[in-house]
């Protein structure tokens, strides 16, 4: 069973004056789905291309199981580039067999594996069609099959969900989960944050070429400024509390943000002292809010 760690260690890259990556570091362990999020131009694609050796880093290193990734280990990576790429005039089956062989499989093994993935991804009746004759959704499936056909030990997928219909999203999610549970480290980037939140074991948020936050979704959500949701018919009770900021207020419901070291129990007591409390809960930000938060703060600091 493939089991190991893919490490991106302090990778930097500049294009002339533009800094694309600045000390980008993270690791993905075997059996883990790692979601890679960040706004356009944050450096996700550059990181992935460097991991695949398609681009050379100025400094830093990519390691697989502690060893620097070279062409032989790279062959064991399944890659789906951001810009989809297949031979438009080559038949689906031929294409997959060819790519499997190029990744080191024998001819028979390559055929078996290609047929297998064609069947799994529901492409059986299109297997003798040229790729350019397929719908975009089906081309995406072939692209996924191309990343998987050589049974890779690592998966690096750039925006695998973009352009997929809901059914294909489910198929893709299932396949990625399955690969992860087989011990393969899976990294993928996506702008669909709800999907990332649902699917990933760990998430890394990238901004301006660096990893600004990473951890499990729970860790990320429980970090940051604590917020409380309080439902109470009385109003104005919170305005005077020290270290408490009212950030949302509608009729009987308000959202409070607590400064560091403010005890939420003290807030509850204050609320009860003012009147009845129907709801008192901790609000955890969604990944989208976290993301927005990170990106805008970074944007301001730059």
């Amino acid at each position: 069973m493939p089991e190991g760690v893919l490490e991106i260690d302090a990778v930097s890259k500049r294009y002339g004056e533009v800094v694309a990556l600045r000390d980008m570091s993270f690791d993905v362990r075997g059996g883990e789905l790692f979601g890679f999020v960040g706004s356009n131009g944050a450096g996700k694609t550059t990181t992935m291309r460097i991991a695949l050796g398609v681009l050379a880093a100025d400094s830093g290193e990519v390691r697989w199981n502690g060893r620097t990734v070279d062409l032989d280990t790279r062959r064991r990576i399944g890659y789906m580039p951001e810009e989809r790429g297949l031979y438009p005039r080559m038949k689906v089956l031929d294409q997959l067999v060819y790519l499997a062989e190029l990744h080191g499989m024998g001819t028979n093994e390559a055929h078996t594996s290609a047929e297998n993935w064609i069947a799994r991804l529901g492409l059986r009746d299109r297997r003798s069609d040229e790729v350019q004759r397929l719908s975009l959704g089906n081309q995406q499936r072939v692209q996924l099959a191309a990343a998987l056909v050589h049974e890779p030990d690592v998966l690096v997928l750039d925006e695998p969900f973009s352009g997929l219909d809901p059914v294909a999203v489910d198929v893709m999610s299932q396949v990625l989960r399955e690969k992860a549970s087989a011990g393969v480290p899976v990294v993928f980037s996506s702008h669909q944050l709800d999907l990332v939140e649902r699917l990933c074991d760990r998430v890394g948020i990238v901004s301006e070429g660096s990893m600004v936050a990473s951890g499990t979704v729970d860790e990320l959500r429980s970090g940051g400024v604590p917020r409380l949701v309080v439902e109470s018919p009385t109003t104005g009770w919170a305005d005077t509390l020290d270290g408490v900021r009212v950030i949302e207020k509608e009729e009987t419901r308000c959202v409070l943000e607590l400064a560091d070291g403010v005890d939420d129990q003290a807030v509850l007591h204050a609320a009860l002292a003012a009147g009845p409390v129907h709801e008192f809960s901790r609000q955890r930000p969604s990944l989208t809010e976290l993301f927005r938060n990170v990106v805008t703060t970074e944007g301001r600091s730059a």
């Binding site: 790279r74 890659y79 580039p81 810009e83 989809r84 297949l86 031979y87 060819y98 190029l102 191309a146």
Partner: protein, 393 residues
């Protein structure tokens, strides 16, 4: 996976994909058809050119044999027909079925032709007529005509040629032109094919997946070998069929001349293709879309076209001239001109050897340089990559 396996996988894909395309099959068929047409035309022209049909009537019919023999010695072929009585034979001359009608008995022979009549034919007839009269008068004088004929036959001018005349010159020239034309076609078409393949991989972005598992030079070499093999296959098919047709129609002596031309053709195809394919590939790697391809390929195509057009003219005009000799030694032109000159039989061995050595040296240099440009430029999509940037990296 060994580099050799990677290269052979790429080459196999290129070969199989290309050979299966309709354009390859149709293209090959069209060239064979053109070549066959050329051969048939040649043989028909060859047949028709010096063949006259002469109608003989009455006593003139006894001239048939001497007329044919005499005509042969003038290098023309004459077919004689007995058209006694001569009544409607005149009409046949008018219709062009007969080139001439000869009537009457020697010494008062009459020849009827449609227009001005063939001068050579008239000379032949005059000769035949004079001989007949001479024989008759000799016989009258009691001298044996056979004795005189024998004595006459022994009288000849002694000819000393300062330059040896090649009886096969015409054939050699034809073969030389065909070889040059085929090489010109193959280099241009298969070089362009390499360029299109490079851009296809670049514009479809599949190159990014490929380069995550093979090195740029392996991809490039595989492509060049694969497509080069397709070109070689086509060249072999075309020339084998061409040679077969030529010998079937007696246009060319297929055995010695044709076979030698085929071998030199293949040698120079390989040299030329490896020289040009890398240049085509490197140029193509600078652009990202098929539409932009033409602009970067033009200088390369022009070189090949100039080599062909100028070379053909020089080869026909003065195959041993200084210009064509120098050009045929230079690597960019040698693959088209040298095999042409070799087929003409005017290239000394040392020149051939020098041209091959120069071509090999050029291939080594171009492969190194072109491979570098290709490796640097092939992943850079978007705007056209400047050659200087691709070289600097």
């Amino acid at each position: 996976m060994t580099p050799a396996r990677a290269v052979s996988l790429v080459a196999k894909r290129e070969f199989v994909t290309k050979v299966r395309t309709r354009s390859f099959l149709i293209g090959t068929a069209v060239i064979i058809a053109v070549l066959a047409g050329y051969v048939v035309l040649q043989s028909v022209l060859f047949d028709d050119r010096q063949r006259s049909v002469i109608g003989l009537s009455g006593q003139a019919t006894q001239l048939a044999d001497p007329l044919r023999d005499k005509a042969m010695s003038f290098g023309i072929e004459v077919e004689t027909r007995d058209v006694t009585p001569a009544g409607d034979a005149e009409q046949q001359v008018r219709d062009g079925e007969l080139d001439a009608l000869v009537t009457g008995a020697p010494p008062e022979l009459k020849m009827i032709v449609r227009g001005s009549g063939d001068e050579v034919l008239t000379t032949v007839l005059n000769d035949v007529l004079r001989q007949q009269v001479l024989v008759a008068q000799l016989a009258e004088a009691g001298i044996t005509p056979q004795q005189v004929a024998q004595n006459l036959a022994n009288v000849k001018v002694a000819v000393t040629a300062l330059e040896p005349v090649d009886p096969q010159h015409g054939q050699r020239l034809a073969i030389g032109l065909v070889v040059a034309a085929l090489l010109y076609y193959s280099l241009l078409v298969y070089g362009t094919m390499v360029a299109q393949g490079v851009v296809e991989e670049k514009s479809s972005r599949v190159v990014e997946i490929l380069l995550a598992t093979v090195r740029p030079w392996q991809l490039l070499l595989g492509k060049v070998i694969g497509l080069g093999a397709v070109g070689l296959l086509q060249l072999l098919v075309i020339s084998t069929i061409g040679l077969g047709l030529s010998s079937a129609f007696d246009v060319v002596d297929a055995g010695s001349l044709g076979g030698a031309a085929l071998l030199t053709g293949i040698l120079w195809y390989l040299l030329g293709f490896f020289l040009y394919a890398t240049v085509f590939a490197a140029a193509a790697s600078l652009v990202s879309r098929q539409e932009e391809l033409q602009s970067v390929l033009t200088p390369i195509s022009m070189t090949i076209i100039v080599a062909f057009v100028a070379g053909i003219n020089l080869m026909i005009g003065s195959p041993t001239g200084a210009t064509v000799t120098v050009l045929s030694l230079l690597p960019p032109f040698a693959p088209i001109l040298m095999p042409g000159r070799m087929a003409l039989g005017v290239a000394p061995a040392w020149q051939v050897l020098l041209a091959v050595v120069l071509a090999l040296a050029a291939i080594a240099a171009i492969t190194w340089l072109g491979g570098k440009v290709y490796a640097n430029a092939v992943l850079r999509t978007g705007a056209r990559v400047k050659l200087r940037e691709a070289l600097r990296l």
